[in-house]
């Protein structure tokens, strides 16, 4: 069993042999939990595999009613307790960050919190019984973080900067490892560190493990800073890939150390370099292989949509473990698996599964990240690992810092000779300062073999200090530095169709100009790849259905339209001036405020009652929504409230299910870990879009067939009942008001349009069974945006035609159906009484 080995491994590693370390894993993730339940550990030295049941049966003297079986559940229990604690820690840290200070980054605060928790444990046990152990870290905590980072990688940005990223990741890391190792060795030889039992190779090994910038730490800090996207992708991509590189480098040097100095000759060094290449590229290709497997798999999971999301995690993890098994670079494997599969997987899977993956991925990654930082803090509170050597520690800090800066500037200088847009000096400063070290370095240090490296503990303590220094101190100062240097921030821009359109045009122009110049340039390659991708790779890996209809510009347009719809709804709701009503027959939109202000001169007496409307929207929608007849909305809210308490409850239910949330957050980095607001509303957006389209098709059909859809946009006001407006409905179509006799109601559609109901087609409609693709729509079907609507000469007739609203009896939404039927039944009588009252 994986887990058994794991435990033995830990015991060996911690060299403590006593029960505590073994059992208090503290850090397992879900997979581990399952394993551990199966294995049911005891904490005793006698036998790891002893089954507690036997003990119990032997001592049984009578039938116990309740027994306390701590050992039975100890491991999973402790694991889950720590998960719980980590969750609480994250909660408190985030709260603290929001309300008290936002100076220290979350990662730093978590480490500090870890110190405190570690102190408590240490105070209770007089020993550190919980610590971050390398297998736990590498097998259960790291994979999902890497998978998350790669799965949400902005691919276009990543690949367009791939050259730079690779240079930094491969050569930068080697540079760091070599210079730090050699400089430390030089200082050691010069006698700065006193008497240590470390040779050149061990120094290089140490250099390689401390060389890598840590993706976990980098994301955690940079996410809060919002630097421009090129800078972000450079730092982030580098940190992701150089982890792979550093592990490979570490393994090579580890092998060298095991081999011993004298036996290393040119051939061995060559083999080392060769193995470096094989391990790194082998891992990457393995990952790509798994990405293909995953994409193919999701092509045919149509009938098991519930679990198709799980494949992403399972195959990703499989890519990681397989690479580990083949001693290829596991991190690179899972990285490339995530990067390569995302496009096809997202296109193949159901919309809901995509959301599930997104959320589950963020959950796992965020959880792991929290655990890692927390345990980086907890681990420190242990007297055993601390070995102090001022020279070694301070010099390491110094060299790590300095060589990072030198390396960054050196490689950027080289890169800038080739880059179209050079990397600016300020960005370079931030890049070098963003060289945060993290848990990977610690994990590698803890993996060191004490037999081969006598000064292991010194290396661990130094690594920890470097990690604390970079994550906490550099993390704190990062934000002020970015502000002070006036680093270009992420452009906080709205999605614009014209930008996308022109981007497409620019691509074509550049490609054409390259053709005219007769030289093969970047655009030629991009175009060639795109063509190949579209013709062959997509063909192989994407569902035929997903392949169709994915014109980029159109999808952007689609998205923008939906955004407008949502904004329209949310704006109306925010102002409290717009109440959506839904019933089986009538749709009612109320524009109390706009109406009030617009007609203040016409009907001054209405304004008196306007104050009542401050709390209008809730009551309005609530009361009117549940009626199956035309609701004659009364100004006397309280009266209705009393009558329809039951209605309100039902209506609230309906509302909660069907009102769309507003888009508050503008999009940030797509690869942001803890915020994924960018596509948050995709589902809703989809739904709204489909509803709109469906309703339009319905209306289209019905108008063609001469059937009047039972759909109105009416404006109700009690005052209007007695105050018939001269500019009421222009063509005076009485049937507009449906079967009910609501004579007094007036429709101020022309005014409504000005007042903000630009796009009545966005009125939510109930699900209808017909699924009409957008391209079957009539001319007006593709909704012009709000602004367009405002300027189009809408007539009420057209409005009506565009926006039918009916509850289909074949609704697929069972909840909705339940609700509707409930409300329908219940309020049949109410509606009658309502009218009487009015």
């Amino acid at each position: 069993m994986n887990f058994e080995n794991d435990c033995r491994f830990k015991r060996k590693l911690t060299k403590r042999g006593n029960c505590n370390t073994l059992s208090h894993q503290g850090l397992q993730d879900k997979q581990a939990e399952q394993n551990s339940v199966k294995d049911s550990y005891t904490t005793h030295n006698e036998s790891v595999f002893q089954n507690p049941h036997h003990q119990q049966e032997e001592n049984l003297t009578g039938l116990p009613i309740v027994t306390f079986k701590w050992h039975h559940v100890e491991t999973p229990y402790l694991v889950i307790i720590w998960v719980f604690v980590a969750g609480l820690a994250k909660l408190s840290v985030v709260e603290l960050n929001h309300h008290v200070i936002s100076v220290v980054p979350e990662s730093g605060l978590l480490i500090i919190l870890g110190f405190i928790l570690g102190g408590i444990v240490w105070g209770a046990d007089r020993a550190q019984t919980f610590k971050l152990l390398p297998p736990t870290f590498f097998y259960y905590l790291l994979p999902q973080i890497i998978l998350d980072a790669s799965y949400f990688m902005p691919n276009k940005l990543f690949f367009s900067n791939l050259g730079a990223i690779l240079i930094y990741a491969i050569f930068g890391t080697c540079w760091n490892a070599a210079t730090v190792g050699l400089s430390l060795w030089g200082c050691y030889e010069a006698g700065v560190m006193g008497n240590l039992d470390i040779g050149l190779l061990q120094f290089l090994l140490f250099g390689s493990l401390i060389a890598a910038v840590d993706p976990v730490a980098v994301i955690a800090v940079f996410e809060e800073v919002h630097v421009n996207e090129v800078l972000f992708i450079l730092v982030f991509g580098e940190s992701l890939l150089n982890d792979g590189v550093t592990v490979v480098l570490y393994n090579v040097f580890d092998a060298f150390v095991a081999l011993g100095g004298p036996r290393i000759d040119a051939a061995e060094i060559f083999k080392g370099i060769f193995s470096f290449v094989v391990v790194a590229f082998g891992g990457s290709f393995l990952g790509i292989g798994f990405a293909i497997l995953l994409s193919l798999l999701t092509r045919c999971t149509k009938h098991i949509q519930i679990i198709e999301a799980g494949f992403v995690f399972v195959v990703g993890y499989l890519a990681y473990l397989t690479a580990e098994m083949l001693s290829l670079s596991a991190i690179l494997s899972i990285t490339f698996c995530g990067i390569c599969c995302q496009k096809y997987v997202n296109a193949n899977m159901d919309e809901k599964s995509v959301t599930t993956v997104r959320h589950a991925m963020k959950l796992l990654a965020n959880g792991s990240e929290t655990m890692i930082f927390l345990f980086l803090g907890v681990t420190a509170i242990d007297t055993e690992i601390w070995v102090w050597n001022t020279g070694f520690i301070l010099l390491t800090l110094l060299f790590v810092f300095i060589y990072r800066i030198i390396g960054t500037f050196l490689f950027t200088w080289m890169l800038n000779k080739f880059r179209l847009v050079p990397i600016e000096v300020i960005d370079q400063v931030v890049m070098s300062y963003g060289g945060l070290r993290g848990a990977v370095a610690y994990g590698l240090a803890a993996l060191l073999d004490e037999d081969k490296i006598p000064e292991k503990n010194l290396m661990i303590s130094t690594t920890l200090i470097v990690v604390y220094f970079t994550v906490i101190l550099q993390g704190i100062t990062m934000k002020p530095l970015v502000q002070w240097l006036k680093v270009k921030r992420a452009a906080h821009s709205d999605l614009k169709l014209i930008e996308k359109l022109n981007n497409r045009a620019f691509d074509h122009i550049l490609a054409a100009v390259e053709d005219i110049c007769g030289r093969i340039g970047d655009n030629w390659w991009t175009r060639g790849w795109n063509r190949f991708e579209e013709n062959y790779i997509s063909w192989l890996l994407m569902k035929p259905k997903a392949r169709k209809n994915r014109d980029y510009l159109f999808s952007i347009f689609h998205k923008l339209n939906l955004e407008d719809a949502i904004n329209y709804v949310s704006e109306g709701e925010r102002q409290g001036s717009l109440a959506f009503s839904r019933s089986d027959e009538a749709a009612n939109v109320d524009f109390k405020k706009q109406f009030g202000s617009e007609f203040a001169d016409v009907m001054p007496n209405i304004m008196v009652d306007m104050s009542n409307y401050e709390l209008g929207i809730e009551h309005f929608s609530v009361t009117s929504i549940v009626k199956d007849t035309i609701p004659s909305v009364s100004l006397d809210i309280h009266g209705q409230d009393r009558k329809n308490a039951m209605d309100d409850i039902n209506a609230h239910h309906l509302l909660q299910q069907h009102l769309y949330r507003s888009r508050k957050h503008q999009h940030r980095h797509k690869y942001s870990r803890s915020h994924f607001s960018i596509n948050q509303n995709e589902d809703e957006v989809q739904e709204i879009f489909q509803r709109t389209m469906r309703s339009r098709l319905e209306s289209f059909k019905s108008t063609k067939m001469g059937v009047n859809p039972a759909k109105k946009i009416t404006k109700h006001h009690k005052k209007e009942l007695t105050h018939k407006m001269p500019n009421g409905h222009p063509d005076g179509t009485g049937h507009l008001y449906g079967d009910e006799e609501v004579e007094g109601l007036c429709v101020f559609l022309p005014h409504l349009i000005e007042a903000g109901i630009e796009n009545p087609v966005f009125l939510p409609d109930m699900d209808s069974p017909t699924h009409s693709p957008p391209w079957l729509m009539e001319t007006e079907a593709v909704a012009p945006s709000q602004r367009a609507q405002r300027r189009l000469p809408w007539t009420p007739n057209r409005l009506r035609r565009l926006a039918p609203m009916r509850i289909s009896t074949c609704s697929t939404d069972s909840f909705l159906m339940a609700d509707v039927s409930l409300t329908l039944e219940e309020h049949e009588e109410h509606s009658q009484t309502d009218h009487v009252e009015m």
Binding site: L497, A505, F506, I509, A512, I516, A788
Partner: protein, 194 residues
Amino acid sequence: MGSTNSTLLKIPNVEVLMQETGFSPAHIIRLHDRFKALDKEGRGHLCPHDFGAIKELAMNPIGDRIIGAFFSPGKETVDFHTFVKILAHFRPVDKDRPKEPNSPEPINSRSNKLKFAFQLYDQDKDGKISRDELLQVLRAMLGMQVTDEQLESIADRTIQEADLDRDDTISFEEFRKSLEKINIDHKMSIRFLR
């Protein structure tokens, strides 16, 4: 160097051309070679059908318009100077080069790059992109799956986004404003022309 100079000398007014466009002699020579290769009949100027002979360009959805951009209105030919000047739009902006205060705006400035893109839309040269003009480009660039109705709404929406004065057309000023956030130097530059 001898051959370099001799090629350069064959081109009239090469000094002026280099100064105007900022191209190095190597670039000029390379472009001149290309020009001669395109000019199969050796007339010293290019006609639209010379461009049409470039295979990939025929596959470019807006290829005609880009070819059209090389020919000033009413003219059927383009000489080497104009050819180079047009291509100079795509030279990356060099930040190192000191800016002389009274020098004219370089051809590869941001606004000139944008102007180039703008005139691809503005076929009737009235300084405005009308809805029809936009529709034509959209029709060329969008795939087959998009219907005319959808195209029209996309065009409408695009115009609304940029149209500040509500005249249902996009003027150059509006065009420039709407693309303010885009890194034009990046998007409209070709690396090998540096």
